[in-house]
Point group: C2
Chain length 471, copies 2
């Protein structure tokens, strides 16, 4: 029976995979309409394979085809084939990555990949771990810094401790707010530094804010440099923040969830991540620009070997970690982690890395930058479109130009929603200086200049149609 179902799924997936590139995006439906089609209320417990496969077919046909070139809704899209194969293999083998005994191959591959990344980033005596995503990685880096700056906090908690202040670009990802909340540090103690005209943290204002904090008797413990802000794609100046770190002695974390993988390209590293090797921690997602299947994140920490274990370990674990050694990379990766059972993310990372290598990934990212430049030119050349802010790297923040009589924010939101509701194109939005913008990013390696032309054609065409109706 097992073989029969696997055969049936294989057939179905092969058909789906074959069509994936050619088929349009799934038709976008409102929740209530889709619910009716799915028939989720059907009675359970029939052990009926036909029903199972019916749902699988519905799942595949009503979930957006993220490999389609018309999907640009998030910061990831098509996954690489080695990583998809790896996900299928790990699901079939079924183990978790917390102990060497249960997952020996995955453990060796994860340690190997962490070692490779530490070496390439240039973190000496560092350590790393794969987390459940960048939100988790940002929180964990902040937690390591919190426990380093406040002696005794692990045992006694934050009661009676000095106040810690963290600093981020006002455009930083919301997971840094969440981290302050989770860790008991309080949202008000996250200082958001205004950005300059290029979307980077204003260094003079950062220093001023740091000085005020010290004057107040609080502790400056954590500054996050965002490498690729979510909306604008700006890269905070690592070099300038490092100068401040040497003066004020905080932990400099680099949130490279989006733009971090650019370090794999020599030229882009110099341009965007210069002096990365001198920072204190660095996180980046392999599942965004590099295109590895979701979720695939790594958090690296410079120097300070052993900090994960000293920060994270707690409680009695002898039922699970049998015979751990005192090495820096322990026998069981779970000993490093805030999780107990851990998904196996290392096989997909390892297979993808071996297949494409640093060169393959950096070629891809360099190409994305070229395409972003090409898209920028189209916007600048169009009489219907405006670039709302300067392109800093990979992100294009633009919108359809409207006459003064029309609310531009509302118009562009509707334009974007119409494209989605008509299943023409899925593209994200964002807000810059209270202006709603279309955030266009390319993360599909199959995208060509022709596809970009096509996107803007569709966008302008829909915009003009809407405008005609309104005028």
């Amino acid at each position: 029976m097992q073989q029969k179902q696997m055969n049936r799924l294989s057939e179905l997936l092969l058909k789906y995979n074959h069509n994936q590139e050619n088929e349009p995006l799934a038709k976008h439906l409102q929740e209530d309409d889709l619910k009716k089609i799915l028939e989720v209320e059907k009675i359970e417990g029939n052990q009926n394979w036909d029903e199972t496969f019916d749902w699988i077919e519905k799942y595949l046909s009503h979930s957006p085809n993220t490999a389609n070139l018309d999907f640009s809704n998030r910061m990831w899209s098509k996954a690489t084939l080695p990583s998809i194969l790896a996900e299928i293999v790990t699901a079939t083998n079924h183990s978790d990555a917390s102990t060497y005994e249960s997952a020996p191959v995955a453990t060796i591959m994860e340690k190997y990949m962490i070692g490779e990344m530490l070496r390439l980033v240039g973190y000496l005596d560092g350590e790393g771990q794969m987390t459940t995503g960048s939100s988790n990685a940002n929180m964990l880096a902040m937690m390591c810094a919190r426990n380093l700056f406040l002696e005794g906090v692990k045992a006694s908690g934050l009661y009676g401790q000095k106040k810690l202040k963290a600093f981020v670009n006002e455009d930083a990802h919301y997971s840094l707010d969440k981290a302050m909340n989770i860790l008991g540090l309080g949202l008000d103690n996250l200082i958001k530094i205004p950005s300059d005209k290029d979307g980077r943290m204003d260094i003079a204002l950062l220093e001023k804010s740091i000085q005020e904090t010290i004057e107040n008797g609080d502790i400056v413990f954590f500054v996050t440099a965002t490498s690729g802000t979510t909306v604008r794609g700006a890269f905070d100046s690592i070099k300038q923040i490092l100068n401040l770190r040497d003066k004020y002695n905080f932990w400099l974390h680099v949130d490279g969830a989006w733009g971090g993988p650019a370090f794999l390209s020599k030229s882009l590293r110099l341009k965007f991540l210069d002096h990365l090797e001198d920072t204190d921690s660095f996180t980046f997602d392999f599942h965004k620009m590099p295109g590895i299947a979701l979720i695939c994140n790594m958090l690296l920490i410079n120097k300070r070997r052993g900090i994960f274990k000293s920060t994270c370990s707690a409680g009695t674990t002898n039922y699970i970690f049998h015979g751990g050694t005192k090495e820096v990379l322990p026998k069981n990766l779970g000993e490093f982690s805030l999780q107990c059972g851990r998904r196996i993310d290392s096989l997909k990372l390892f297979l993808d890395w071996k297949f494409f290598g640093a060169k393959g990934i950096s070629d891809k990212i360099e190409n994305y930058l070229e395409l972003a430049k090409y898209a920028e030119k189209i916007i600048l050349d169009s009489s219907n479109l405006e670039l709302v802010v300067k392109r800093e790297s990979f992100n294009l923040c633009f919108r359809f130009i409207t006459p003064d009589t029309i609310d531009s924010n509302e118009f562009n939101q509707n334009l974007r929603n119409n494209l989605l509701n008509k299943s023409i194109f899925m593209v994200g939005t964002g807000v810059v200086d209270k202006q709603l913008i279309i955030r266009y990013v390319i993360t599909n390696p199959d995208t060509t200049k022709k596809d970009i032309d096509l996107f803007f054609k569709k966008f302008e065409c829909e915009g003009l149609k809407m405008l005609q109706k309104l005028l």
Copy 2:
């Protein structure tokens, strides 16, 4: 090319699936030996499919066959087929569950399953979410309680707040220690209540400890009832702790990672989880006893609708959550969560639930209990084995009896390791009252009484061999 690789993988997996039941556990190798076989240092970037498939074959042949009946190393083993198929489908479709737009089917399925579980548990006006595991769920429940008990903590942090004290069974899972550390509450403020002879929190000691805390001017905010302690499998008395809650007004959380799914069986619910519907929060893993593919966890909260959003939300999220509504279950599940990108765990839960239903899952769990009773009898009847503590539910804590001249802890650890190193059987260990025990739990639905006979035969045989050498 894509189709070709998918075909190749399908063939390989079908062969593997076919053999899975018949093949022995993978040969257990030490890290250095396995490293040599894996050749992880091979140069990358060749874009060579043969190498990729070579590693996939190595992965499959050197990772323990967790579906094999000789794998009883963790609290999960063989995954159900509907859930494995679902994992393969979600990997192929490639999306994440944070927004309705990117994952409409997964979002509807997750909301549906949360609703079903709330209804079955009996949580009125409650809400739920799927997390990255029980460690994460325990932390999130505690965070909700922390932010509820301390007004202003989200904004201002724990500085100047009253001290919160949490209470757990001394045998509770280490993730509760971790949660105190993460949340800034301090490990010392987790009070570990000694257990009675049955492994349950001693209620008189719990009350005494609560009273002392109040006398000290600290706040009693969180008591965790463990439903199925990790090593002994004891279930704290929910009913008795509820009496204390009514008196002292704390948050009563139930950590049912291991034994929680027993609520799906009428008789087992009455026996182990009576009055569950009156508690404040409840978490349980579908990937342990129910056998859904890793990771599959749910955290439910009673009453207090909206608490996830008020506890978790922070920062600017308008770039991702377009047009969220003010419903209790928002359009985008990410708005509830501490994660940004979220894996899709709902398809596997949904398909498995529809296939087996509450009845299918509870039959399985009731059968595990029968098998545990059967195994208990074998231990009691054997002159070579001793039950170190009374069986409370699904866990068997036993060991090989050794003469006084031999260190029993060391002997049993070696016995267990020998079984592993000879790839005969993978079974876990634990520590009870400083005594090392073999922790035997059954989570493979194919296990029969005959297989249990066989396990103990192998265990006794290896033990006797070792004893002969020593005497």
